[in-house]
Amino acid sequence: MLFNSFGFFLFLPLVLAVHAALPTGRRWAWLLVASYVFYASFEPTNALYLAFVTLVIYLCGWGMGQTERRPVRIALLVAGLVIVLGLLVTFKFYDFLAGELERAGAVFLADDAVFNLPRLGVVTPVGFSFYAFSAASYLIDVYVGKLAPQRHGGHVALFTAFFPKILAGPIERATNFLPQLREGLRAHPEQIVAGAQLIVWGLFKKVVIADNLAPLVDRNFAIAAFATPIDLLISVYFFAFQIYCDFSGYTDIAIGVALLFGIRLMENFRRPYLSRGTGEFWGSRWHISLGHWFRDYLYFPLGGSRAGRIRQYANLMTVFVVSGLWHAGLGYGVGWTFLVWGALNGFYQWVGLATAPVRRRLAERLPRLAASTPVLVLQVLVTFHLIAIAWVFFRAASVGEAVLILQKIAAGLGQMPGLLPRYPFTAEHYLGFGLIAFLVFVEVLDERRSIWQRLAAAPVALRWGAYYAGIFALLLLGRWQAREFIYMQF
């Protein structure tokens, strides 16, 4: 039952109607039931994994609350993390690594020593990467004392299972989520309006922008060796916006749906392609809930920037390589591409860190130039292209194919000005470019002042006109054949 499916359009009003009819103190229970129904709709056995993870963190958290003894608390934390994250690692990598080991064996061992490793042969539960990280954050927060162990098992269960966020986040923190349950779930009119706005905008990004860009991207990445450099360049640009609109579209819908129930989820995207550096992109604009998770639970514990220059570099690379591994399996299978993608983004951070003093000095000496619009635009464009290059590794079927795509584009760059006027642009291209231009326009406006604030201040005719335009764009241009969200495919 995807957000962009007919089933969800029946499911959501039903859940909302019952939710509204119940006393506020009982609503969590109904949401828990609805969340398990939603999750089991993909595969009934998924609910067992979800229940198991919930039970593990509840018991470990409860155990930590029963004792002050540090060794016991550490043992409970480690046990919980090993189980939850161990499952995640096993699901993601076991079959892949088994295949790689067999291949390595075939190369290095004699013919008669070929071995076959057993495979798990299970379909990995959808959304596991996301709720495993939420679950891990609960355990760590309880251990460090940021959160009191929860006695209410139902609340913990809803924290891990809440259906708007279970498939692809945001990777919610219990410190944000659980207090809202205790206050009682009640949506205010402003939240309902904001929720509906976000749902329409999220759907627009997903079914109108992302899903209209996807066919061209899929086609050219599938035949990269035969595609022209212009085909590939357009596909790289389109993919950068496809993945953004697909993932942030999901998040907007998730946050919007949660608001209808009176729950505020974390912000996850903040106009990432307007970042002026890759540090800003990863630190505060793209998949914020994951970035903050890595910052709080990996980067800081490793020492962050306070453990010396060398350690800081090592910590940054560790975070990005682990982030690359976490992304493996999200949409495009498990492969070495994700490791390279993570390392490349880590390398960007190194360069950013190494050049920071020079850039800072330049900005101090030439403050007007540094703050000028052309320089800002240049910074945004450079950042966008660095990120887009990294996305090639995310999307390509193999590292070799990603390198081939980048080589072909680089080799063809010189001839492109001459070739572009003769390129057979189709309606599909024009639609794609038009949608991207519209998105960038909206985001630039939003960057200056929230688009929702602008709408709220606008006359009713303009505001409603914008809503109808959004809804009818979904009807007229949307691709509704329930294409899966990229990030939920693990």
């Binding site: 007919f6 009119p189 309902i192 309006v193 409603w464 109808y468 809804i471 009807l475 007229l476 509704w480």
Partner: protein
């Protein structure tokens, strides 16, 4: 909260009006771009009564490509209406034929038979929900009711009827300004270079569920028999043909002999003219893809085989 509900009601009411306008515009636009959809053809047919109606899947469609239907009419002096549509099995064809009988008449029915259409719901129940077909099907309350009936009795997804009634696929049609032509028609004059890979891919596509499901075969043979019975009750003469295909393609059809055997055992088949031309034309120059006749092939087939059937000689 009350004021919010009041505003929401007004917003929804205006939205419904706008939706109705979009629906109306899509419906009108369809009459400018419509062509191959069988329901569109029924609604816009020139005559009330025909000598022959043709049903079947894509193998029957070249008979209406370009000016070929007019050519057949000229050669035979008969009025012919081709209602075949791509990938449609006996269940969907029965649905089309039932509607045809409420709007027009025919003396004869030619059913172009393909075994693949008898093995999978993909070519039967699922076709009712196909967005491309729904997008080009003109709105008629009778069609909506009939579709709802198929949902109740035949296991067709109720969302198909809902989609049709609300015009969603029509409003959402990305090809709304393009003529409704099957992609095969553009290749009608081409000659296909035989390719084992393309043939294997085509077979895999046509048999998504294989041929092991005995219940599916039983069900769709039953649907086909029901269609033949319906024609018989209306006093319509029926001819069933299997179109020529290259031997390379035919040899890869799974369980074709079993299918032929089961077909011949149908009581309803005893009263119809059946001709199997599967291996009648093996020349590669007669095909525009792994299994569809091109203009040259179809001309040869019509002159040598089909004309006689249509003229009942």
């Amino acid at each position: 909260m009350k004021s919010l509900f009041r505003k929401a009601f007004v917003f929804a009411a205006i939205g419904v009006l706008l939706y109705a306008a979009a629906y109306y515009a899509s419906e009108r636009l369809q009459y400018r771009t419509g062509d191959t959809n069988p329901f569109f053809k029924i609604e816009t047919a020139e005559h009330d009564a025909y000598d022959w109606v043709i049903l079947g899947a894509s193998h029957a469609m070249p008979l209406d490509f370009s000016d070929f239907n007019a050519h057949m009419e000229e050669q035979t002096g008969l009025k012919i209406l081709n209602l075949a549509s791509p990938g449609t099995g006996p269940l969907y064809n029965r649905f089309v034929f039932e509607h045809f009988l409420t709007r027009r008449r025919t003396a004869n029915l030619l059913y172009v038979l393909d075994s693949f259409a008898f093995y999978s719901p993909a070519w039967n129940e699922d076709r009712f929900a196909d967005a491309k077909l729904l997008a080009r099907t003109p709105f008629r309350p009778q069609i909506a009711w009939r579709m709802a009936g198929y949902s109740l009795r035949e296991g067709v997804d109720p969302r198909a009827a809902l989609n049709y009634a609300t015009g969603f696929s029509k409003i959402n049609n990305r090809d709304r300004f393009k003529p409704d032509l099957w992609e095969g028609e553009a290749q009608f004059d081409r000659v296909f270079r035989p390719s084992a890979f393309a043939t294997a891919q085509r077979i895999e596509y046509l048999f998504p569920d294989g041929t092991a499901d005995e219940a599916a075969l039983e069900r769709y043979l039953g649907e086909f028999a029901a269609l033949l019975d319906l024609a018989r009750r209306q006093g319509i003469e029926v001819a069933v043909v299997k179109m020529p295909v290259p031997s390379r393609f035919y040899s890869q059809l799974p369980d074709e002999a079993t299918f032929d055997q089961r077909l011949s055992e149908l009581p309803a088949m005893q009263q119809v003219l059946f001709r199997d031309f599967s291996l009648a034309m093996d020349e590669p120059g007669f095909y525009f893809d792994p299994d569809h006749l091109n203009r040259a092939g179809l001309t040869e087939f019509f002159d040598e085989r089909l004309k006689g059937i249509l003229m009942r000689k």
